[in-house]
């Protein structure tokens, strides 16, 4: 718990540095992760790629605390996160989006965004019930912050729509908006473009860049859209069967024959053409991923 108070004293303004060190995870007899080690420098964008079942989503699960590793460590700015519950990791500036992007089907867009404000500024139930002045003020402040984000992301006309009514693309935008509200220092994105069309996926690149700049955060993303990863990321990590087989800047990885064999399996030309490979390479079933 000492780690929490330390970060409270130093306000979270700078992006975090993430270190994943020799993490092992097994489900039953299956070794999902077999000594995964990589680093995300402060302010970088790191892309995890690899075939289905190579352990990308499990890696994110370990970092966000949903899966407890059998051995190994996750360090965030020199803090060991082993004992942190998923809920507590928000306190150190870690925010995660999910692959299925379910959000909360019955909540309106406004409520979803207010919810991420709730998590940052909790107001006691009693003072809410009695409508005490500070509870009113807090609610008003939250509403203002949310209004700004709604305007910035162009979600105005979906304000009162239930999340279940939204298309996948819009839901992802809502998800990203709620992430910006949480003021992350480390942002974990699980397939931000899963289930949306190629053209819209391309539109995500500038959006993610903007979030990276505005929120001033480190981003780790799992993605099947290889061209997107190579264009966006400063570091690419290639995984195979629960191991990291290659890591480095995009150009270096692109030149690495092991990496090509592990995941890309295609020629360099196909890699550069964003069309066919991007379509075919994207994982549409998604569910069994990482287990």
């Amino acid at each position: 718990m000492s780690g929490v108070s330390a970060t409270v004293e130093a306000p979270a303004v700078h992006p975090s540095q993430l270190k994943v060190d020799d993490v092992h995870v097994s489900f039953g007899g299956v070794h999902a992760l077999n000594g995964v080690t990589f680093r995300a420098d402060a302010g970088s964008i790191v892309g995890l790629i690899g075939a289905n079942g190579s352990g990308k989503t499990t890696t994110l699960d370990v970092v966000s605390g949903l899966v407890k590793p059998a051995s190994g460590h996750v360090w965030l700015d020199g803090i060991e996160l082993g004992e942190y519950l998923p809920e507590e990791r928000l306190g150190v500036g870690m925010v995660r989006s999910f692959q299925d992007c379910r959000l909360f089907p019955e909540l309106s867009v406004l409520d979803v965004l207010l919810l991420s404000e709730d998590a940052c500024h909790e107001v006691a139930v009693l003072s809410t019930t009695l409508r005490l002045p500070w509870a009113r003020r807090a609610e008003r402040r939250k509403l203002e912050a949310v209004d700004q984000v709604i305007a910035a992301f162009g979600l105005e006309r979906f304000r009162h729509h239930r999340t279940a009514e939204l298309s996948t693309g819009t839901r992802r935008v809502v998800d990203l908006a709620s992430i910006v509200l949480a003021r992350p220092r480390l942002l974990l994105l699980d397939e931000p473009t899963a289930g949306i069309a190629q053209r819209e996926a391309e539109a995500f690149i500038p959006l993610l860049r903007r979030i990276h700049e505005v929120a001033d955060t480190t981003i780790v993303l799992v993605e099947h859209d290889v061209p997107l990863v190579f264009e966006l990321c400063s570091t690419v990590v290639v995984m195979e069967l629960g191991r990291v087989v290659a890591a480095g800047p995009p150009d270096q990885v692109r030149a690495d024959p092991t990496a090509l064999a592990a995941y890309l399996g295609a020629s360099d030309e196909a890699l550069m053409a964003s069309g066919p490979l991007g379509e075919g390479g994207r994982d549409r079933t998604g569910r069994s991923e990482g287990v």
Binding site: F104, S108, L115, V125, T129, A135, G154
Partner: protein
């Protein structure tokens, strides 16, 4: 602590009862496995067969075996018919289907009392095919018991083999694993489902026919909450999947209960032990239960309805709502002036029931936790009122009662933190039975070990008078003034719930219900939020209980007031009002409490109207009465707008505010920011 010993015939008696629980549990497991439906009418379907068998054998002098075949076929037919009616609900939230089966059991209860099914003289004993009995010690093992001991294991064995070996069994197992895949591989899931219900109906018929000779009246047995609890507990021990385990668990429970009765003289202690054992067994089995339950199950159980008011950005629409609420409240305030004393009592009662329904709206509608024991919490509040009485100012009694009940509700809710939604239904049911039979019934208990007496129950369980306090010097003695008081409590409760709904509490509860992982990742404390739901719900139910005690002025544990079936009525109110809707819960209370008063004392008509009403509401009005009210508001708004518009064009100006679009813009994929 307990040394159990008993003569052989007690064991035989236990096995005999246990076979009944086991058979009932088999039916529950079958239907649950196939449709993910917890069928509350499972026992009641068979009662029809038992009653009809008596009619055929006693009134028409039919041959026993012929009559048996006819009456079992009747139960099978009724079961298949029920499946056909309820089928379209199977994809909807599980709570809805569960309440629909409660409605179904009311209808079946009424059917069983119709003259062409019921024998002219029901006090005659249920017929048996042979007269085979023998002595065991000083007691006689009756022919029915002999019959049960033979038939029940054979039926079970046949069922287990059928599930393993027949095409129906294969289809059923495939369907219970993954209905969609089964369908695509050529399984006719509808036919399978109907067949499963038919088989469950036959099982139910055997249960009732074998058990009937022991019941004083065959009509009352099937809805009996303890019978349901034991069968459910047995089914849960089988993880709602395993037929053999469920059956054996049922027999075990039967033996255990008989041993308990033989060895523990005090009924209250028996109840306490039963409660602890049921909870303990469920907690021990929780791993298997979690494994047996598919991940999707949890969400369908917990699926509720929208809590937020639909976007009422339209000013005129909001004004219509405000005017409507104002009118209703105004009328309600004036109502006690014109009502008779009896109707004043009814009005207080409806208001208090509405507050209880509101407490459940929060828990089930928002937080997605199904409670079948809400009236157990009301009983806690009522006990606080009994013990504090008039010594403390009324508002303080209410706050204190609310606080105590909130703590109890948290304790009752603790298992829910680890168990999927369905299992809370069982533990809360056990809690309600425990409250009625143990806590209310025992004036004082001596805590073993420290030799202290704790008086928490009703001082006189058969008849405890509760004196009504005054409120800030205003007398509440007359029924009319109490009706106003109850109305005020209701209005304040509604205001409080509205704050919770709109200002941040509800959205946290709904978020945790809809997506636990997502909420945790967002930084919402999941455990605390779940417990918050129980605490708030318990608080509201608790002060409603205080009001309830002061309203009735006398309490006992014997009549139906604190019977667990009252809790079924409460959850029915919440469901027909529309899950999660505040106005709906109130309308539900008015409907279910007011309607019986209109139809007077004829029970058959009451049961049919409320039962059919429940099913019809759930089938044809998915949003409940609250939705209906909302639509009414829309219609009125359109009318008012037309009027305003005409006036405005008459005045040669463009209609102000009337141009607000009613329908939302079409959805588009792009978020417009790119």
């Amino acid at each position: 602590m307990l040394a159990f010993s008993a003569p052989n015939f007690v064991l035989v008696q236990g096995v005999f009862y246990g076979l009944g629980y086991g058979l009932l549990a088999l039916g529950l497991v079958l239907v649950y496995r196939t449709n993910r439906v917890l069928n509350f009418a499972q026992g009641q379907i068979g009662v029809i067969a038992a009653v009809f068998l008596l009619k055929l054998a006693a009134d028409f002098k039919f041959n026993y075996w012929f009559a048996l075949v006819l009456s079992v076929s009747l139960a099978a037919f009724v079961a298949a018919l029920s499946e056909l009616v309820l089928r379209r609900l199977f994809t909807r939230p599980r709570v809805l289907v569960m309440v629909a089966t409660i409605g179904l059991s009311y209808v079946l209860l009424a059917l069983a009392s119709l003259p062409f099914i019921r024998a002219s003289n029901t006090s005659r004993p249920e017929p048996v095919p042979f007269d085979l009995s023998f002595h065991l010690g000083p007691f006689i093992i009756t022919p029915t018991e002999v019959l049960t001991l033979i038939v029940a294991p054979i039926v079970t064995l046949a069922l287990v083999l059928a599930v393993r070996l027949t095409p129906w069994g294969l289809s059923m197992r495939a369907m219970s694993e993954n209905a969609d895949s089964a369908r695509l591989s050529g399984v006719w899931i509808r036919r399978t489902s109907t067949l499963t219900w038919t088989v469950a109906g036959v099982l139910s018929a055997f249960t009732a026919i074998l058990n009937a000779p022991n019941q004083t009246s065959a009509l009352t047995q099937a809805l009996s909450p303890d019978l349901l609890l034991y069968a459910l507990a047995a089914a849960l021990i089988g993880a709602m999947v395993n037929l053999t385990v469920a059956f054996v668990a049922g027999v075990g429970l039967g033996v255990f209960l008989e041993l308990l009765q033989w060895n523990v003289p005090s009924p209250a202690k028996q109840q306490l032990i039963i409660f602890i054992v049921v909870m303990g067994v469920l907690l021990i089995r929780v791993r298997a239960l979690r494994k047996g339950v598919r991940t999707g199950d949890r969400s369908t159980w917990q699926h509720g309805a929208a809590t937020t008011v639909r976007a009422t950005a339209d000013l005129l629409r909001r004004r219509v709502s405000v005017a409507g609420v104002g009118l209703v409240v105004g009328a309600a305030v004036l109502l006690p002036f014109v009502l008779s004393v009896g109707n004043d009592v009814l009005m207080s009662q409806i208001c208090i029931y509405a507050v209880v329904a509101l407490s459940l709206t929060m828990l089930t509608g928002w937080a997605g936790q199904v409670s079948l024991g809400q009236f157990g919490l009301v009983a806690v509040g009522a006990l606080v009122a009994v013990h504090l009485g008039t010594s403390v100012p009324l508002p303080l009694v209410m706050l204190y009662g609310g606080a105590v009940t909130a703590v109890v509700a948290i304790l009752v809710g603790l298992p829910a933190l680890r168990m999927p939604g369905l299992f809370l239904a069982v533990t809360t049911l056990a809690f309600a039975i425990f409250m009625q039979n143990a806590v209310l019934a025992t004036p004082c208990i001596t805590i073993p070990g420290i030799d202290k007496t704790l008086c928490t129950g009703l001082p006189n369980p058969a008849y405890t008078v509760v004196a009504r306090p005054s409120l800030f010097g205003l007398s509440l003695a007359s029924q009319r003034s109490f009706a106003w008081f109850a109305l005020a409590v209701l209005v304040l409760s509604v205001l409080m719930l509205r704050v919770w709904r709109d200002k941040g509490v509800a959205r946290r509860l709904v978020a945790v219900r809809d997506n636990e992982l997502g909420a945790a990742a967002m930084g919402i404390p999941v455990l605390r939020t779940k417990l918050l739901a129980f605490a708030l719900s318990g608080f509201v139910a608790g002060y409603a209980g205080v009001c309830f005690a002061f309203a009735t002025q006398q309490l006992n544990n014997t009549d139906l007031t604190f019977d667990p079936t009252t809790s079924f009525v409460i959850i029915s109110m919440v469901v027909i009002g529309g899950l999660g809707s505040i106005s709906g819960a109130i309308l539900g209370a008015v409907y279910l409490e007011g309607l019986p008063a209109i139809f007077g004392s004829n029970q058959t008509i009451q049961f049919i109207t409320s039962g059919l009403g429940l099913i019809a509401f759930i089938l044809y009005l998915p949003g409940g009465l609250g939705e209906l009210l909302h639509r009414l508001g829309d219609v009125v708004t359109v009318g008012v707008r037309a009027l305003l518009h005409r006036d405005a064009t008459d005045a040669a100006g463009p209609a102000v505010g009337a141009a607000a679009p009613m329908s939302p813009p079409a959805l588009a994929t792009d978020g417009a920011e790119r």
